[in-house]
């Protein structure tokens, strides 16, 4: 077994086990901290795919911003444990069947979706220039509309968060 397959199987197995752990935790803080570990492993998977910009963004945005925001809200509301009425007790046969159907459809559809079309960004090109530089060139030439839409998408929830959570209690 070669070294890349060994490393990938470690990261894949760790991701699956960690996501199972995340879903079954009772304590919210514990769940968020396991999610932090899971995101670090997923960023390791991105490194295998020559997407070092996304490995960095995964650490900065997901692990650094979103999870910290979640921990901040959990500590602000001071909710520690879930009560007795939940924790996978509502797992019923139709739900499991539905999830298996979704998994099967995803697995089959994704296998079929791989076309043999090869674009211009080969591994040599990505290694010569860097991933971030090429992504920036794509963003400022052919994909400039998604960049503008991303700005709007990030602007609207800022207003929403201020309007929703910034309300004073005496109003």
């Amino acid at each position: 077994m070669s070294i890349p397959i060994l490393f990938f199987s470690y990261f894949a197995l760790a991701s699956i086990v960690l996501s199972l752990i995340v879903v079954t935790r009772k304590n919210y803080i514990h769940a968020v901290l396991w999610t932090l570990l899971l995101f670090i492993h997923i960023s390791g998977i991105y490194l295998f795919l020559n997407a070092e910009f996304f490995a960095m963004i995964q650490m900065i945005v997901y692990a650094g911003a979103i999870l910290v925001m979640l921990i901040f809200v959990i500590m602000l509301l001071n909710v520690r444990h879930e009560d007795h009425l939940s924790d996978l007790s509502s797992l019923s046969i139709p739900k499991v069947f539905f999830v298996f159907c979704v998994f099967g459809i995803l697995a089959l559809a994704l296998q079929a979706s791989y076309l043999n079309t090869i674009g211009k960004f080969s591994i040599d090109v990505v290694n010569t220039f860097s991933d971030a530089k090429l992504l920036g060139q794509v963003f400022y030439s052919e994909a400039n509309l998604p960049l503008i839409i991303m700005g709007v998408v990030l602007f609207v929830p800022m207003i929403a968060a201020i309007v929703l959570a910034g309300k004073r209690s005496d109003e």
Partner: protein, 100 residues
């Protein structure tokens, strides 16, 4: 060289785990966390396809998904704070009266 199907199966497994967590956990915080899990699975799919098809549009869409995840998380947490003010709990079962 790891085959592409390994990445896709891994993403489908993580998506299924996130989906089953989203449907069974009854607290808004855990549901938000499971949404993040599913979005990460989609990102793995897009970036692996982008690598194997040698096209950068997959990474562009993955960056859009990350922005959407941040936006959804901010709005969801603002709603969570409002819901906690209303009922002093984060259980989704106790918000049945919000049904139309």
């Amino acid at each position: 060289m790891v085959p592409l199907n390994a990445y896709l199966i891994l993403a489908a497994i993580i998506f299924a785990i996130g989906l089953i967590g989203f449907m069974t956990r009854r607290s808004i915080i855990m549901m938000l966390l499971c949404i993040e899990l599913m979005l990460n699975a989609v990102n793995i799919t897009l970036i692996s396809l982008s690598h194997y098809m040698q096209d950068f549009m997959g990474q562009v869409i993955a960056l859009l998904i990350i922005a959407n995840a941040g936006a959804g998380m901010a709005t969801g947490l603002a709603l969570l704070i409002n819901a906690y003010r209303l009922k002093k709990t984060v259980k989704i079962d106790l918000f049945r009266n919000l049904r139309g």
